[in-house]
Amino acid sequence: MRSIFLIIILFLTTASLYSQVQLTGKVTDTHSNPLPGANVFLQNSYDGATTDSLGNFTFKTSLNGIQNLSASFIGYKPFSQKVDLDNSKTISVNIQLQESEDQLDEVVVNAGTFEASDEKKAVVLRVFDIATTPSAQGDIFGAFGTLPGVQKVGEDGRVFVRGGEGYETKTFMDGMLVASPYTSKMPDMPSRGRFSPLLFSGTLFSTGAYSAEYGQALSSIVDMKTNSIETEEKSSISLMTVGLMGSTTQCRKNSSLSLSGDLLSSALSNKINKQQVDWTKAPLTADATVMFRQKIRQTGLYKLFGTFNTSSSDMNYLNIQNKVNQALALENSTIYLNNTYNSTLSEKWMLKSGLAWNYDHQNLKMDNDRIITNQKMVQAKIGFSYFINTQTELKFGSDWVNFSYDQKIDMNGNYRLPFTNNELSGFAEVEYKPSKKIATRIGFRAENSSLLSRTTLVPRFSGAYKTGKHSQISLAGGEFYQNPENDYLKFAPQLKPEKASHAVMTWQYQNEQQTFRVEGYLKKYTNLVKYTAPLATNPLDYSNTGSGKARGIDVFWRDKQSLKNTDYWISYSWIDAKRNYKDYSEMAIPTFVSEHNLSLVFKRFIPSLSTYASVTYSFASSRPYHDPNFSGFMNAHTKAYNDISLSLTYMLNFFEKQAALHLMLNNLAGFDNIYGYNFATTPNAEGKYESSPIRSPFVRQAILLLNIML
């Protein structure tokens, strides 16, 4: 018994020793080019080989029977095939590997869109780019100023896109509306974004023809994606010439909590940087932000973002009419809460939902007059994605915004201007990708406003076709409605929504290191608000008879590879825009439009100094303005705008802590940029309308910041 057993064992082992099989062959790609370095092996054994420089492999195995022969290679799909090792001593197999679908190779619907993301590959910007663009001064919206399609409007600070006004750009956070994304502004002073760019892991900036998911924006949308669950505990403090900042992040297994706050005062900075404004109390700001993230079951993520912001400033403002200084005092407080819950419901269904609340209080004193404005917003949104098959995705959802506005004016008597609007919207959109080369998206959006008693229905479409491995051509268009600005609605709630139509065509080339994009567009505006005089109080002084048009070409080039340790991008926009709105007497180029806009952003890392250096040069050709001393409308032009800004970041050790020292210098060359002129409404004794130029609050500006990781 025992011996028989042993013999069998012996026989089996020797048999296997003597039945070695040799496998040979060649690994190629689909164009028959050899792939050297590919791994070819038999599953369930260590037996295998790496292909040589001609793609050939050869190895021996003692396995027998039917086995799986596998091959793998970076950038290619894994391959497997059955081989029968019993029939012959040598087996020859030629293997063809298919390229894996790189994100860069796939067509994406992106006409009109600039996306900054740290998660996706095929994007133009990283979040870090936004935080370190010198001319942006750390402001998200400022960084968009270096992208094509955006006008330089130095006295405003908002994002003016393709012949559209600042209010035509709407800001969202994780898909939810942000009712007051900018700080309150004094006259002729630029406002800034309220949020630090470091809070976001991505930003979608669309300069036109965006998805039906977004509404109530005539020109542009910005959707900021907040950071997901943090996995690193960290704390830092920053000391700046403009104040103090601190933040801390705590992590649990399925949740994270981040707190940050800052106290900013321009008092010191205004002494260092000569001001062209007569501040009687330098701007003072306090912010507190909380971010909580909780993973719920396998696929659900709850995000809470809450922020409180309060600011104040006083200044003397020259009233050109009577040539006396007016004492202006501005106080502003904002609370914004944003809750979202996103989850995968099943293999085919995804849920996106959110609840947002915003409260904004502004108190403006002008000598003895006072204007108090309170704005409240509540938004509830729910949306679903349904994956009909691998090629088709259906998105639909609904959105309710309750907005109430209340302005109290104490100026030669007491006035109150309140209104409330309930905006109910719904959208549906289908994205269909019949192949890796073609993508189309068609959607509709319906909106109903209780205040305006109107319902609108608009189409949106977008399509893209891959013209090469790295290039694609895209087309997009649609119609867009937006309710008139609050400053008009408060007087004239009978107004209709303003309307815009966009058509965009884009060609883009993108590889890992370089992006080239050229985009042409046509825009038409109708139903724009016209009034007889600024601040007219009679509802009948307002009408929707205004109109406008814009066309232009935007060019963008970014290159990270040609120069060592250097990354640069160039944006150029040409625009031809005209409007007849507000109190314009005829169709004319509006004051915020410059025909040519150019930005150069140049970033270089100097390893030997552990230093990042960034330089931006911005140019905008002259802007028109109306000089009542001469005949005709919009009869004068400002000088061209020029700016050179620099930022330097040194990495250093500060008492054994990791730290970074930032120096930001704006308008190095000290260009005297004039954005326009304020004119007196009546002529003086000599019959001349007096004027004063609108300038930046500073000529040059230097800000120093030391950030220490604790």
């Binding site: 018994m1 025992r2 057993f5 064992i9 050297p36 370095g37 791994n39 092996f41 599953q43 369930n44 054994s45 260590y46 037996d47 295998g48 080989a49 790496t50 420089s53 596998s70 793998s72 970076i74 950038g75 740290d118 990283r126 870090f128 780019d129 690193e232 960290k234 590889n511 890992e512 290191q513 990270k560 590879q561 340790n565 250097t566 990354d567 970033k603 270089r604 890392f605 390893p607 030997s608 100094l609 552990s610 990042y612 970041t649 040194y650 990495m651 250093l652 050790n653 500060f654 054994e656 990791q658 970074a660 990781m709």
Partner: protein
């Protein structure tokens, strides 16, 4: 009958030890090859070997650790940035798989801390700040799991040596770190012949260079 059962059990057991021995031998042979590799081709070849071992030894983190290590070495040898990123993607993939098998292994966090600087070097402008923090977090975690891991000390010393003096780096600052690493290497005993045991020579060389 009893006897035959006994023999069967014995045979089975020897089969198991045989398999384990095969694993040990395959690993030893591949590790030896890894530390004698010079060219991209040689590294790819040995990385492939580790990959093959890992597809069978699904509960072992070591083959994946060495596969990942090989790809980090390949990225050092590469010239094209896009390619380098691809190699590091591959290294990260193996490392993630290894982490899933052994989530609390100091050597894996050390390797993660070794991978980030390679990523930073490809695009320091855009990656430096974000990844520097992640690298430090990974090295901190590696030390927390094993305060005597000499490779963590070595990596910290190298990072310091490569940083300019003005920013807390430089040879003078790095010297005590290299010496500390040398102490740790002296005391270090790998868990087995196939566990990570590299870096001592590199540390000695760097230390000598600095002392000159």
């Amino acid at each position: 009958m009893k006897k035959s059962v006994f023999i069967l059990v014995l045979l089975l057991l020897s089969g198991i030890t045989f398999a384990n021995e095969a694993y040990q031998n395959a690993m030893k042979q591949a590790i030896d090859k890894l530390f004698h590799s010079q060219t991209i081709q040689e590294y790819v070849d040995v990385a492939n070997q580790f990959e093959r071992i890992s597809t069978i030894e699904k509960k072992e983190w070591l083959p994946l650790y060495y596969a990942s290590f090989s790809y980090i070495m390949i990225s050092f040898k590469g010239t094209d940035n896009a390619k380098k990123d691809q190699y590091l993607d591959q290294a990260q993939k193996y490392l993630d798989q290894a982490m899933a098998i052994e989530p609390n292994e100091s050597e894996l966090f050390m390797l993660q801390g070794f991978l980030y600087p390679s990523r930073i070097n490809i695009d320091p402008i855009n990656r430096g700040m974000a990844l520097m923090g992640k690298m430090n977090a990974a090295l901190d975690k590696a030390l927390e799991l094993n305060p005597d891991n000499p490779r963590v000390y070595y990596l910290r010393a190298t990072m310091t040596a490569n940083m300019p003096e003005a920013f807390g780096g430089g040879a003078a600052k790095a010297l005590p770190l290299y010496q500390k690493a040398a102490e740790k290497f002296e005391l270090f005993k790998p868990k087995s012949e196939i566990h990570p045991n590299w870096g001592k020579e590199l540390n000695t060389n760097d230390l000598q260079k600095i002392q000159k």
